[in-house]
Each structure stands twice: as structure tokens, then as C-alpha cells.
Amino acid sequence: MKTYTYPKSAELFARAAKVIPGGVYGHLGPAEGCFMPVQAYPLFSSRAEGAYFWDVDGNRFIDYMCAYGPNILGYNDPDVDAAVQAQLKDGNCVSFPTAKLVDLGELMVDTVDMADWAFFAKNGGDTTMFSLMIARAATGRKKVVLTKGGYHGVAPWTQKAGHPGITPEDVANNLYVDFGDFEGLERLFAEHRGEIACFMSTPYYHPVFDDNRLPPDGYWKKVRELCTREGVVLAIDDVRCGFRLDVRGSDAHYGFEADLECFCKALANGWNISAVCGKDWLREAAGSVMYTGSYWLSAAPIAAAIACVGKMRKMDVAKVCTEKGRKLTSGLAEAGKRHGFDLKISGEPAMWFMRITDDPNMDHHQAWVAECVRRGVFFTNHHNLFINAALTDADIAFTLDVADEAFAAVKKDGPLSARKGW
């Protein structure tokens, strides 16, 4: 199999370096994205379609990052994009919302089990911040309990003291507990009785670097009861999992009901819109918080969300992605075994996490991922991966061939640190 090179990506990066901090910043960039070694990775795409993107050098990739979640139906989904085009003819960002805002509100309430109302914004971080503000407005309390290793965006309160730009005051109202540690949560609630506004968590544990963990048996039921008893708002950050596990919301998937639920990524197949859904008792508080933005009620992304949610429901997208995920991940693990590597799969199949075990330095894993990328299968090293509905059986078969060859290459050449001239 031919391996890729990226001269045009490198050229563009050199141009970017002059005018953009970090060249490509954030999770799509080589630093946060853990491109190791960077030479194995493209840095810019030129177009995308279905399950693929092409980089600026013309290399094709099966994209298992799905733009870190938004691509759920396949890039350039014809139905979603047609809804956007039609809306654009009528206008987009105007002084008033269109009727579609109400249509989408109704659709969300009808689709998401826990939802009595829906509120729309742009990014996932808007929705986690808003949820916390609603909880504070409703309870008159300050503190929030978060799980260690959880990610809720980039607002200062979601980051760590000591990181650039973050002060100790920014995180002074945060308390932390391990995901799944019910007793620890109970203890925190008791120690800070009457101070905690909100417990915010993703529905399952999907950190970077670590094996992902599903909620322990009975965990969410107990947490639900505890929050109700203590008057704490239970906010589920479904930004990453939303619709991939269950179109009814990931709380419904795990058999409980959140007070607030945050959606973003898969909501509109890549068009920029996010949502908070809530229970009736928080409606007033949600209405009372001053929270808005220039583009939040723009009509085109709303049209995209209506089309996307409708299509996801119709095809049962979570089931589709879960089945494809199972098929792919079992094949990947088998490919590893053939070459003597134990590839451990964790999390939910539609957005699985994987790592080679017996590899304490992560060296073999990084080498294997790099070998896959250079052969047209885009994985990242230490973040969960994503399945989209456009992925075909042929794509899965191709991926497994690549994975097999990549394992063979790592077996032969060893991890990067063992190679000459690294």
C-alpha cells in the first residue's frame, strides 16, 4: 500500500505560522490533536464527502474523527444541505427569528425524552455555561460538581488553575469527583450542603488518554435520586454523545432523566447550532438568564438541525452507528491479535476509544495510528473516535486492511523511539 506525503500541507502550515497563532490551533491542530509524529499527518483538508475527506495534497482519508463528532450522517448530507440551501434563499441572519425556530423547539421537545423546552446557541461550550447559569439562577447556589477528566468546553471555569490565562478564582466554585464514584459524590454533597447548584457530567466517562468507562450499574439512578433529594440540578453534557447513543438523549439511553441536557456536535450534521433542553421547573430560570449571541437564531443552521434530527430519527442513526462501530472495532482488535498486539476497545461502539495494551509509553500505539493515517485511515492517538452513518462495509473492509498492514509495519520497524534518527 502506498503511504502518503504532505508537501502542500507543510507549505500551507508555513504560511499559517506567519498569521495564525499556533498555525492551526485547538483540537484540529497538531499540538492538541497529538499528531505524533507530525510528519505522518495532513494538516489541511480541501473537501469532504460522506465518510471521507481529501487533504490539500489530494490524499483521501476515511475520517474516523468526524470533525470530532459533528459528522453523523456523512459529510455534505444531501437532505441537510438542501434544507440549508432552501433557507439561504429566504434569508439567514435577520432581526427576527423565523417560524423554523419554533418548529425546531417543538421537534426537540418531541425527540428528546426529558425535554419540556429547548434553547438554542452555537457551540457546546455555550450550552454548558448556560446550564450552570440556569442552575445558579434556579437554586441561588454557587458551586458546581464536575467529574475529574471531564471536558465541558474552554470557558475559564471548565479549565484548570495554573493553565495559561486561568486564575484560581476562575475555578473557585468547582468541586471534583471521580466518574462513577457515587459515595464520593454523596460525601461532597454532604460537605457542601446548600451550596451546590449543579452536578454536571457526561453520560459516560470519555476522557482523553484513558480507557473510556460506561456508568456502573445503578449509578445514574442513585445520582438522580441524590440530586433530587439535595435540590441539585442534574445537567448532562451530551455535547459529544448526543444522538450517537440514542436520539432520545443519552440519559434516556442509560435509563434516567436529566434536569438539563446539552447538545451540539451531531445536532445539525456540522452546521453551527447547539441546544439546551430542560425540565419545566427550570423554564423560568432559563428565561431569566441574559444569554444570547449574534448568530444564535440564524435560520440556516436551524433548518439544518430540523432536517438532521428528522433524518436521524427516521434511520435510527444511533443503532446504525453502533452496529458499524461493533463491526469495525471487533475487526481492529482481531487485526491486532494477528500481529501479537492487544488492542483494547472501550466506551460506546459508535464513539469508541482504543489503545494498545502492554505499551506503557504509548509508543506502539502512536506508531500504529501514524501508520494507519499514512495509509488513508484518519484516527487520532488519544481521543475517542467517531462513526458516521455514511460509512460503508467496503470502508470498514478497507480500514481493516490498513490496520493489518499498519500493525505489520509496527511489528517490523518497532515504535518510533526505537527507529533510527527519531
Binding site: A10, F13, A14, A17, P21, G22, G23, V24, Y25, G29, P30, A31, C34, F35, M36, P37, V38, Q39, L43, K160, A161, G162, H163, P164, V208, F209, P360, N361, M362, D363, Q366, N381, H382, L416, S417, G421, W422
Partner: protein
């Protein structure tokens, strides 16, 4: 915010130590190292002790106290920092008669170090000077990094999040350092030394790339994209390492 106690640790355990490497690059430093043997002990209230042995053709840095021919005492870190900033003097406790050595050869040595570390742009055009600057800067920056990790409030927060192990810092074809992490405390060692759990690496494409990065000519995040810095191995250590590296200019600029 610059914490005076941390700055004093950086001065005592990173900057002073870097004098060790000076004779390899500088004629004047070599001459002094070949001259009369003196052992200068620095005692800094609330910070610690270190000794510098000059003579026999080399300069050796030794953390901790011991026998010395000249004893310098600083009541606190701020006074040591004042000496390094050129705005204060130490109080000699022993070897009062050696004032001449302090004012002469020792001051000349520190001036030479400043000459290399705070390099004037025109001097950096000379390849040999540039290489010396890069090597000494790499050394001082990564020794300072451990002091900052152990003492600066932001540094401690980040170091506390690190897993035990070690990371290799190296320039291709050039010098290497090893930073060991244990219970949230860091220790820099010279060279690619075998320590348990050496799990990650930060490799500069060349000594010059390392120098550029430390001089602030090259952004570290950018350098990852261009391959001038290649990171690999156990990512949770590297991640925090980058955050610590970001704090170094606070203390060395």
C-alpha cells in the same frame, strides 16, 4: 506573577549551575577555570545552599553545603535575586580577604554567562556564538523548569497533575537532559540518563531549533506543527510539560 522564592531557586539551582558549561565555549571562562582554585558557597535563607568549585580547568556546581573557601550569605531569596539583577551584593561570611576574587574572576564569569544568555541579536548571527547560546539556554531553561514546577504556585499545580516517570529532552545531534517526576516533584538531570519510567520525549530537530524556541523566536505550539519539536510517548506527562515550559520565560526573561 514572579514569585521571589522561585526566582531565587532558579538563580541558585539553574542559572549558577549553567556556569559549568561555560568554559567549553568561552576563552575567558576557560582561563578563570584554569586559575586559582576557589569553592564558593551560597547560603540563601529560606531557599538552600549550593557550591561552585572553580579551578583545575573546570567549573563544578554542587547542590547543598560543604567545605568552601568563600562563604556568601543572603538573608533571603530576594537578596540573591538582587545580586543576579546587578542591584545588590552578597554578605561574605568567610574569606573576607577574597573580595578581590568575587569582584574580579567570579564577576567576570557571571558577566560572560550573561553575555551568552542575554544575547544581543547581532551576536546571534555568528554560528559559533549562536550554538553556545542555544546550548546554555537549553540547559538553564530545563533546570529552571524543575525549580518552577516545585516552587511556583502555577508550576506546582501543573506538576501535581503529572504521573510519575521521566521525560527525555534532547536536541538531535546535540545535548540531552532527563527530567524525572516523582510525587509531583521534578528533578532535572544532565544527559540522557537511565531513570525508571522514562516514558516520553521532547526532541528538538536541532540544537538551533531548541535555541530558537527558548529565545522566543519560535512558538512551541507552532514548532510541533513544523516538526521542529517532536513529542512522543506517554502523553499525559508531555501535556503538563508544555504548560510548565510556558512558565519558564516568566523567570528567565
Amino acid at each position: 506573577m514572579v514569585d521571589q522564592g522561585t526566582l531565587a531557586r532558579v538563580n541558585l539551582f539553574a542559572v549558577l549551575r549553567t556556569l559549568e558549561g561555560l568554559p567549553a565555549h568561552d576563552d575567558e571562562a576557560r582561563k578563570i577555570a584554569n586559575g586559582k582554585r576557589e569553592v564558593i558557597q551560597f547560603t540563601v535563607g529560606g531557599v538552600g545552599k549550593a557550591r561552585l568549585a572553580i579551578g583545575g580547568g573546570k567549573i563544578a556546581f554542587m547542590p547543598g553545603g560543604g567545605g568552601a573557601t568563600i562563604n556568601l550569605w543572603f538573608p533571603d531569596g530576594a537578596k540573591l535575586n538582587a545580586m543576579f539583577a546587578g542591584t545588590g551584593n552578597p554578605i561574605p561570611l568567610k574569606g573576607l580577604t577574597k573580595i578581590g576574587y568575587l569582584k574580579g574572576p567570579f564577576t567576570a564569569l557571571t558577566d560572560r554567562l550573561t553575555h551568552y544568555l542575554r544575547a544581543k541579536p547581532e551576536l546571534l548571527k555568528d554560528a559559533k556564538f549562536r550554538a553556545a547560546n542555544s546550548e546554555l539556554s537549553l540547559h538553564v531553561a530545563f533546570y529552571a523548569l524543575s525549580e518552577i514546577a516545585n516552587a511556583d504556585p502555577d508550576g506546582r499545580l501543573n506538576a501535581g497533575r503529572m504521573t510519575d516517570g521521566a521525560i527525555l529532552i534532547a536536541a538531535k545531534g546535540g545535548p540531552a537532559l532527563t527530567i524525572a517526576v516523582k510525587d509531583g516533584r521534578l528533578e532535572t538531570r544532565n544527559g540522557d540518563v537511565e531513570v525508571p519510567g522514562k516514558r516520553a520525549r521532547m526532541v528538538f530537530s536541532s540544537l538551533d531549533a531548541a535555541g530558537q524556541l527558548i529565545r522566543g523566536e519560535l512558538s512551541s505550539y507552532l514548532a510541533i506543527g513544523t516538526g521542529d519539536v517532536s513529542l512522543g510517548g506517554y502523553t499525559p506527562i508531555i501535556d503538563h510539560m508544555n504548560k510548565l515550559l510556558g512558565l519558564v520565560p516568566r523567570y528567565l526573561s
